[in-house]
Homo-oligomer: 225 residues x 2
């Protein structure tokens, strides 16, 4: 059974990605990262998701990105932007972008993969209905794959790393449909950047707007509060 | 004055790299990472070095790499290898290699650089007299540069990141000579992977052997205990 390392944030996309990897027959080792995000609630969700989706293991790791500043997501004193969905789609790189986040997440996934003998990394990146982050695009994922293969013992051995992003070219509606088809319990997931006490979604941040769009397109009601 | 982010470990190579960056006129922001290394003594040294070399700022950041296992350097229960210098040079990738370490370090440097408006990253990587780590080679550094430029706001703006490794093709003897010419106080630096109580170098790990080679080639006595 091939092993995979799956980055799991607690959101809908990474949960669905884990379900895809499981359905493809991988022994899945989930990895969640506390990087100083304001919505640390997602880490709690990742624990429940890893169990619900029968991950072979789940690790929660600390890697501080708040130290660098530069993002609303790691600085609770700044305001999460509230805007219309068409503004999200056309607005360029938003203030919720966290510099170098996906590079750090994938690097930690490589570290684990190299150590447990896995060459398959899964990430829930999406480049269709997304917030405009540069490190969610296909160019970034290819560049990371190349990097991993010159950076590591594994890569040099000829048994190359592969970065899988099965939702990369999916719409949010497509992601919801895929999640449901794979039996992902979307009640557990949280997408919100600024959750209210008790973990209720705010309904007005970019992530909430995109999630809402997904359920609307799929024609189903979001089961999460 | 152009800003640079300089990775600073407390060792001879990164201290000299900081001195090079300062001498080239950069406003230098030093960055040290506690990644779970057994030789955490190096972090103490980095504080003194950043001061001695007049860094504009110095940050110490936590990013756990010990969680992944796979390295003697993050697992104090394993033995640091003791071997001859010719074995170091010809032995392939040793057990002291930390999977994905330089990728994580450079990613954290990118995060800081993006946030403070720097495009110049300095790392003390060396590919001549080194321990055979894949992520110290020119191929790795070029691949990281490419990655940084697709991963970030800065890279996309056209004002590209540059990864500077001024010691990449230097012998250890050359590094010692350069350090002395730039006035680096090498007493403060520590290279040892397995320092004794009080921070004394063990004298027999790969890092100690390479350091000794450097001083021998430069014809000077190592001032560190």
């Amino acid at each position: 059974m091939r092993r995979a390392v799956v980055l799991l944030s607690g959101g809908m996309d990474s949960a669905t990605t884990l379900a895809v990897a499981v359905s493809e027959g991988y022994e899945c080792h989930a990895l969640s990262v506390r990087y100083g995000q304001r919505h640390a609630e997602e880490i709690e969700r990742s624990i429940a998701l890893a169990q619900a989706l029968a991950a072979a293991s789940h690790r929660i790791v600390d890697a501080d990105l708040a130290f660098a500043g530069g993002s609303v997501l790691t600085d609770p004193s700044r305001e999460v932007p509230r805007r219309r969905l068409d503004e999200v789609a056309s607005g360029g790189i938003p203030t919720t972008y966290v510099p170098a986040r996906n590079t750090v997440l994938l690097a930690l996934a490589v570290a684990l993969a190299e150590s447990i003998g896995s060459r398959d990394l899964f990430i829930g990146a999406n480049a269709v209905d997304y917030s405009g982050y540069p490190d969610c695009r296909p160019e970034f994922l290819s560049a990371f794959e190349e990097l991993a293969n010159v950076a590591t013992r594994a890569g040099l051995s000829g048994d190359s790393f592969r970065v899988h992003a099965p939702l990369l070219r999916e719409t949010k509606g497509g992601i919801v449909r895929r999640a449901l088809a794979l039996g992902v319990d979307l009640r557990i997931t949280i997408s919100c950047y600024d959750p209210k006490p008790g973990g209720r979604q705010c309904g007005t941040c970019d992530a909430c707007l995109l999630r809402e769009k997904g359920f609307r397109e799929a024609g189903v009601v979001d089961p999460a509060p």
